[in-house]
């Protein structure tokens, strides 16, 4: 396997230009939403609103203002996290979701049948159905570009290097240095999200530098694999089946047992009558 590759997104230098969104759509030939009709969401400068089957990069805007001149903007270019332990890959019943030689997670559109199991399994709400193909789709980390030694389109287009692409080990080193730099400059809330290989999901191959709690960015603090519920849930169901089975045996066998008891009583009465001296 080639070296694990991924993204390090430093949100502190994101300027919300959305060049990554445009580059992603352009390279991957993804259609516009609603046939290209422009619609203002009313939510800051975010009119994309969410990742979807035809939007694989989404710049989130968080406004933290106490008064017009006292506050800050947080911006985060969201994307598939290419989890080391991926929930989508785990539950996919068709084998459409695979792990590539770059340790990234890719959906094979020609295999997917649109069952949507991966949508609910993703701990980050990344995946959705592409209306054109009728299959689940998400960021491929530009597998086609990586295969020929190019960096993904979004990272290439990012004018501030908020999105950095490279070998994961190297990106982690770079990210740690950046966190120390920010803390030294007084930003004590600086932290990495998903960079720890011992952390949730075995680490994320697309990880982030945040300056507030993950929830503020719409990210789960402790993402988990969907299979965590499999054994206890299945065991409780099996226990329930045993209880229902016992109730069924007791209640539905009752009539037969009553018939048998009545027949035995009738036999006993008859025998008594026959034995009684006339």
């Amino acid at each position: 396997m080639a070296e694990p590759m991924g993204f390090f997104t430093d949100t502190t230098v994101c300027i919300g230009c959305k060049a990554c969104e445009v580059a992603c759509k352009s390279w991957n030939q993804l259609p516009a939403r609603d046939g290209g009709q422009s619609e203002m969401s009313g939510q800051s400068y975010d009119n994309t609103l969410r990742l979807s089957g035809n939007t694989w990069r989404h710049v989130k805007f968080v406004e933290q203002f106490e008064s017009p001149y006292n506050g800050r903007w947080l911006m985060l270019s969201d994307v598939c996290k290419h989890c080391v332990q991926a929930g989508c890959l785990e539950v996919c019943p068709t084998g459409a979701i695979i792990r590539t030689e770059f340790d990234t997670v890719v959906i094979q559109s020609d295999v997917c049948n649109g069952c949507r199991a991966c949508l609910g399994a993703c701990p980050f709400g990344v995946i959705d159905i592409n209306e054109v193909s009728g299959t689940a789709q998400k960021c491929t980390l530009c597998y086609d570009r990586m295969s020929v030694g190019l960096e993904p389109a979004c990272a290439k287009a990012c004018p501030t290097d908020s999105i950095q692409f490279g070998p994961i080990a190297e990106l982690r080193q770079r990210a740690n240095v950046r966190v120390e730099q920010l803390r030294a400059a007084g930003e004590s809330r600086a932290r990495l999200y998903g960079a720890d290989p011992e952390g949730p999901l075995g680490g994320l191959n697309a990880f982030f530098l945040l300056v507030d709690e993950p929830e503020v960015y719409g990210l789960p603090p402790e993402p988990e694999l969907p299979s965590k519920q499999l054994v206890p849930s299945a065991a409780l169901s099996a226990a329930g089946a045993a209880v229902v089975g016992a109730v069924g045996l007791v209640t539905l066998r009752h009539n037969r047992m009553r018939d048998v008891a009545e027949a035995e009583r009738a036999d006993a009465d008859r025998e008594q009558r026959e034995e009684r001296p006339s």
């Binding site: 969401s41 975010d46 949508l119 719409g218 789960p220 969907p226 206890p232």
Partner: protein
């Protein structure tokens, strides 16, 4: 549309009074995900599939431990199981965004090898449905022969020992699987309500068993009003399973913790009024003879059975839709 703040601090800052952290429910991680758009077709599948599994189990118990007089209800159970499993297959296929690729669930499209993941409930469920479908087909054939409607030698062998017992036992286990795995399938996600409790599979199983008994009671009363002993036995079974269902539902709701906030909506009201009051408590009151008349009109076993079916369907609607309404828009968790 109600927008929830994502973090404790945000909620505290927005409150006119200082609120201690421990009083503010933490938003579970499952709320930061997106719904899979499993809606009415899947809800119908959960309901019909559960009834199919439950009917087969009840028919199998009546076959193995019942009286000769129970055989008409046994046959009815096998017919309903087969019809239910066929409908389930159709519903699941139609719900796919690419229905023509339904076979990718069973065969790897690139290699032609079997596609099976024991750790994926949907993968296991597809094979379970297939095997249960086979046994319910065989059992329905045997039941047709048993009733005298089908005079075909091989079908006769299905209705005789040892094949009849093998089919009843294997299909009964399959029926339990079909009735309960749907809840496990929902739990093995990252969605609110579904993944926040381990009890959904058991709850669905109890509900499937009670709904199946209710449907058998309703139909058996129409077909053979004379056989009250068998119908009474089914009603007794239904009463006990409804008690189990009520206990499981309470445990399920407690186990949700702060995720239960997903029920602060019309679905929570539906849960209380339709699922608990109309679908469990009223049938129990009727079943145990505590409620016999409403405004002078008699309440029969049929009324109780119809209410149980309504409650069973509403349970699936409520558990699926309460989760489906939670999503992330921008950076905010939104409850629609």
């Amino acid at each position: 549309m109600r927008t929830a703040s994502n973090v404790r601090s945000a909620r505290r800052d927005g409150s006119p009074f200082p609120v201690p952290d421990f009083l503010i429910p933490r938003m579970p991680d499952t709320f930061f995900t997106r719904p899979p758009h499993w809606q009415w077709l899947i809800i119908l599948y959960f309901f019909i599939g559960g009834i199919a599994g439950g009917c087969f189990f009840l028919a199998a118990v009546l076959q193995l431990f019942g009286r000769p007089a129970d055989r008409p209800i046994m046959r009815l159970g096998y017919y309903l199981a087969f019809i239910g499993v066929v409908l389930s297959g159709i519903l699941l296929t139609v719900d796919l965004d690419r229905p023509e690729r339904f076979w990718h669930m069973m065969i790897q499209s690139e290699t032609g090898r079997p596609m099976f993941k024991y750790w994926s409930p949907m993968s296991v469920g597809v094979w379970g449905l297939l095997f249960f479908g086979l046994f319910s087909f065989l059992a329905a054939l045997g039941a047709l022969f048993d009733s005298g409607r089908l005079r075909w030698g091989p079908a006769g062998r299905l209705a005789r020992e040892p094949l009849a017992t093998i089919i009843a036992v294997a299909g009964g286990i399959g029926g339990f699987f079909l009735a309960g795995y749907t809840g496990v399938l929902l739990s093995v996600t990252n969605r609110p309500v579904w993944a926040d409790s381990n009890w959904l599979g058991m709850l669905y199983l109890f509900s499937a068993a009670s709904s199946a008994a209710a449907l058998l009671i309703l139909l058996a009363r129409r077909r053979q009003p004379g056989d009250t002993a068998a119908i009474s036995a089914l009603a007794r079974f239904d009463d006990w399973v409804l008690i189990l269902e009520l206990i499981a539902l309470i445990v399920f709701l407690i186990s949700l913790g702060s995720a239960a906030q997903a029920f602060l909506s019309v679905w929570g009201v539906t849960l209380l009024l339709i699922v608990v009051a109309a679908g469990i408590l009223l049938p129990l009151l009727i079943g145990f003879g505590r409620l016999t008349r409403v405004r002078g009109r008699p309440l029969t076993l049929g009324t109780a059975a119809a209410l149980v079916l309504l409650g069973g369907f509403a349970l699936r609607v409520v558990t699926v839709m309460s989760s489906e309404r939670v999503t992330v828009v921008g950076s905010k968790v939104v409850e629609r």
